[in-house]
Amino acid sequence: MKQLALIIDLNVCVGCHACVTSCKEWNTSGWAGPMSDFNPYDANPTGTFFNRVQTFEIGTFPNTETLHFPKSCLHCEEPPCVPVCPTGASFKREADGIVLVDYDKCIGCKYCSWACPYGAREFDQQQKVMKKCTLCVDRIYDQTLPEAERKPACVLACPTNARLFGDVHDPESEVSKLIRENGGYQLMPEWGTNPANHYLPRRKIHLKIHEDELLRADNPLKKEGLLPEPPKEQQTLDDIYMSW
């Protein structure tokens, strides 16, 4: 069965928040109604967002690493938020595994947000219903869009290709290969929620340069020449050939 999900590559995320703004732009303009903001241009602005980029610092100064961490609904394969909903407004689609909220059925009791260990759900203070990432369900199946644009808004906006979208149940999909080959992991595995979204870890490339690599130790002229080693300003073979 299909399970659509996002893969977030922490190795290349630069924390630019482009995914946050494009998510907000797409989802606040849709048929489901705006994602309300309060005091947007005033003191203490607050509002509804489906996606946030958080920043963590790992280690102690000066040996620190900055990690930009985008966080949205993980579309769990065992979503704890769904069975607790008293109205059935919260549901997981059979066809593609997207976890959605029916805004017309939600009574705004907030019980699902208590049942989500990731804090992925946000209560819209104006519409008085619970909202969450829809994986741009109104975009990914839209036949009027060119096929290349049938992806979540955040994925299209990412300038470093840190967000990838696909079916994590298809072993041959790009995202499945990435998870498999680059150590993709799930958040808070201890709760058995089995999130569909995966994160790719930081993959640092350590460049270790040895002393003898700075000088060309294997220079055949100098290697095979007379010992002690001739000085650097002495003629090389190139100089001799050039003079011909």
Binding site: T87, I107, P117, L187
Partner: protein, 327 residues
């Protein structure tokens, strides 16, 4: 968690209502067994049921203020197969209806024996309705408790003690009110209710303390390492994606200091358990019983509001790991 007063009033008020009904019916069963003198249907059972009904309906009323969309509340009865909240929504009106019916049966005097049980015990309509209402009341307690106990990553709540405490605290406050009510109408079973109120309060004190001790020693399963999946002992948050708070910071943080929580814990331990037990004992041996019994109930109920506030703020949600710092 951020305590919501709508839920605090819902759970404490229906707790009193359920407890008071259970007290009334316990009294009736005892007098049916000829262990207690029979009480007047009208002045005791019917009026008592009306008081219980008042608390249950007030609780139901308070619950509506928790909803963003009150007009859709009826929808919440649909997912009873999976949701404890849905089960509570169904059983609460049933319990209210049965308690009302129980009061009505006493009010209209439907107490002619219908049949004789085991050739000795005459059974009338009030006893049958009362038995059904008892089942509904206890089911309601279980549903209310399970709403919190079923959330496995709220480790402070995920324990049988949560359900037990809801039953015992509701029962204790209901029996205390029954003692005060008996004293008010001046019947001869005051000491029966006072004794049961003391027993229930002491038992609740033991189980509530057990949950406090348990929560004090809990080791959180989630930590910053599992939250973001980085294996390093030192992880500090520098930004949470919003500078002036969000739903995540409003709903899941109580915003009070450790010292305030500690103070509230001492206050509720005094007001729910110690002071009411003292007042109940004093009232049993006193001439000014009505005032003391009423005081015992009022102090205990106010204490329960603090207790419920503490119950919510005591739970540490794992999502808070993502909302540690704004800067």
């Amino acid at each position: 968690m951020h305590p919501a007063f709508s839920v605090i009033f819902l759970t404490t008020l229906i707790g009193v209502g359920q407890g008071l009904f259970l007290a009334l019916y316990t009294g009736q069963v005892y007098s049916m067994m000829k262990l207690l003198p029979t009480q007047d249907s009208m002045s005791f059972y019917a009026t008592g049921s009306l008081v219980a009904l008042g608390f249950l309906v007030a609780g139901l009323f308070a619950s509506f203020f928790h909803l963003g969309r009150m007009e859709r509340a009826w929808r919440s009865a649909s997912k009873w197969r999976t949701s404890w909240l849905s089960r509570e929504v169904i059983i609460l009106p049933i319990a209210i209806g049965l308690v009302a019916l129980y009061g009505a049966a006493h009010y209209f005097g439907w107490n002619q024996p219908l049949f004789i049980l085991a050739q000795t015990q005459p059974i009338d309509l009030t006893q049958i309705i009362g038995a059904l209402a008892t089942v509904a009341t206890l089911t309601l307690f279980i549903c209310t408790g399970m709403i919190y106990a079923c959330l496995k990553f709220l480790q402070e709540w995920h324990s049988p003690l949560t359900v037990i405490n809801y039953i015992l605290l509701g029962g204790a406050s209901g029996f205390t009110l029954a003692a005060a009510f008996s004293a008010y109408i001046g019947n001869d079973i005051i000491s029966f209710y006072a004794l049961w109120a003391i027993v229930l309060t002491i038992t609740a004190f033991i189980t509530r303390s057990a949950s406090l001790v348990r929560n004090n020693h809990l080791k959180a399963k989630s930590n910053p390492q599992t939250a973001i999946g980085v294996r390093h002992t030192i992880i500090s948050q520098k930004a949470q994606g919003a500078m002036c708070g969000s739903f995540n910071t409003r709903e899941f943080f109580h915003g009070q200091s450790e010292a305030t929580l500690k103070m509230l814990r001492s206050i509720f331990l005094m007001m729910v358990f110690i002071i009411p037990i003292g007042l109940l004992i004093a009232a049993t041996y006193s001439v000014e019983a009505i005032t003391l019994f009423m005081a015992a109930f009022i102090v205990q109920y106010l204490g329960l509001i603090v207790e419920r506030w503490y119950f919510f703020s005591d739970a540490r949600h794992p999502q808070n790991l993502y909302y540690q710092s704004v800067s």
